[in-house]
């Protein structure tokens, strides 16, 4: 068990930042689930809303990617 405290902090920080990816997963699940719930109620309107679905997915997912990026930066760049 040796090493420096800064390395320990970096890796703990990277692990904590990765929690954000899980949070983004919840967001993406919400978007897709609600889309499906709406689409099953009114299937004729579903096709016109797929673009909105993908925009929503992209926005929710971008924040998870930011979290992933922060953890990569902590591990390799800081």
């Amino acid at each position: 068990m040796e090493g420096d405290i800064a390395l320990l902090g970096k890796f703990i920080g990277a692990g904590l930042a990765a929690i954000g990816s899980g949070a983004a997963a919840i967001g993406v699940g919400h978007v897709a689930g609600n889309y499906l719930a709406g689409a099953l109620r009114n299937p004729s309107a579903a096709a016109s809303q797929t673009a909105t679905l993908f925009i929503g997915l992209a926005f929710a997912e971008a924040l998870g990617i930011f979290a992933f990026l922060v953890s990569l930066l902590l591990m390799f760049a800081v």
Partner: protein
């Protein structure tokens, strides 16, 4: 590739695949050095040119194979631009089409084994993302002059909230190119890194079958993600363009 070091850890790193190396010799990478990134960008461009030259050569009423693929891309993007931006958006269709096919082809070519993925680098996607940002902002000011700034001033919001909303809107406007480019680079980079992490586990005999199964599953997911990310980049470009064309809705 995956021989083990003395301490049991693997020699290759999951992020080694993103290193930009000179193609000939191993000197420093300068501005004009031909690197593996240059090679795969060139292959993507040549593939696009080949598809569209072959697709538009004969122009049959009943399309052949390459022509129907070219028509598929063309009509898909044209419909997207028209749906999101309206008829006035059709003027900017060539730009959006170029972005879409370039991102799609470089995403999919990066899935070939031993290839290099240009879109996993923020340097590449930031050029595309900030290019869209600059084009859209300049276009907004050219078409609407100073009234383009009215986009940040919500007329339907209560008067007290308007300055606060304006600040938030301005910040979110300037974060757009950042999230636009990092989304694409991050998704592609994360997918490729995950494949390499499982490839690292494949060297350990006990879990090798599981890990190879996981690589196959993630590869399938990546095929989906590559298409979706190209689509998302394009449709967000359309949405930003719509804001520049009609800032008051």
């Amino acid at each position: 590739m995956a021989e083990e070091k003395a301490d049991g850890s693997l020699v290759f790193h999951p992020l080694d695949q993103f290193i930009v190396k000179p193609l000939f010799g191993d000197g420093a990478v300068g501005v004009f050095t031909i690197t593996n990134a240059t090679l795969w960008l060139a292959i993507a461009v040549l593939a696009i040119v080949a598809l569209f030259v072959m697709g538009t050569k004969k122009r049959d009423i009943v399309p052949g194979r390459s022509q129907s693929v070219a028509e598929l891309f063309y009509s898909f993007i044209y419909k997207m631009v028209e749906d999101v931006c309206g008829k006035e958006g059709a003027k900017y269709f060539p730009y959006i089409m170029t972005l879409f096919v370039f991102i799609l082809f470089s995403n999919y070519l990066a899935l070939l084994p031993m290839s290099f993925s240009p879109t996993s680098h923020i340097a590449v996607t930031a050029i595309l993302g900030f290019g869209v940002f600059i084009v859209v902002t300049v276009l907004g000011f050219v078409l609407h002059g100073a009234t383009f700034l009215g986009m940040f001033w919500m007329k339907d919001a209560p008067a007290i909230l308007r300055p606060i909303i304006a600040v938030i809107e301005v910040i979110s406007y300037f974060v757009r190119p950042v999230s636009h480019s990092i989304r694409l680079a991050g998704n592609i980079m994360a997918g490729h890194a995950v494949i390499k992490v499982f490839a690292g586990f494949a060297a350990i005999a006990a879990i090798a079958p599981v890990s190879i199964g996981a690589i196959m599953a993630i590869y399938g997911l990546e095929i989906l993600v590559c298409g979706i990310q190209a689509y998302v980049f394009t449709i967000l470009t359309c949405v930003y363009l719509k804001d520049a064309l009609h800032p008051h809705h």
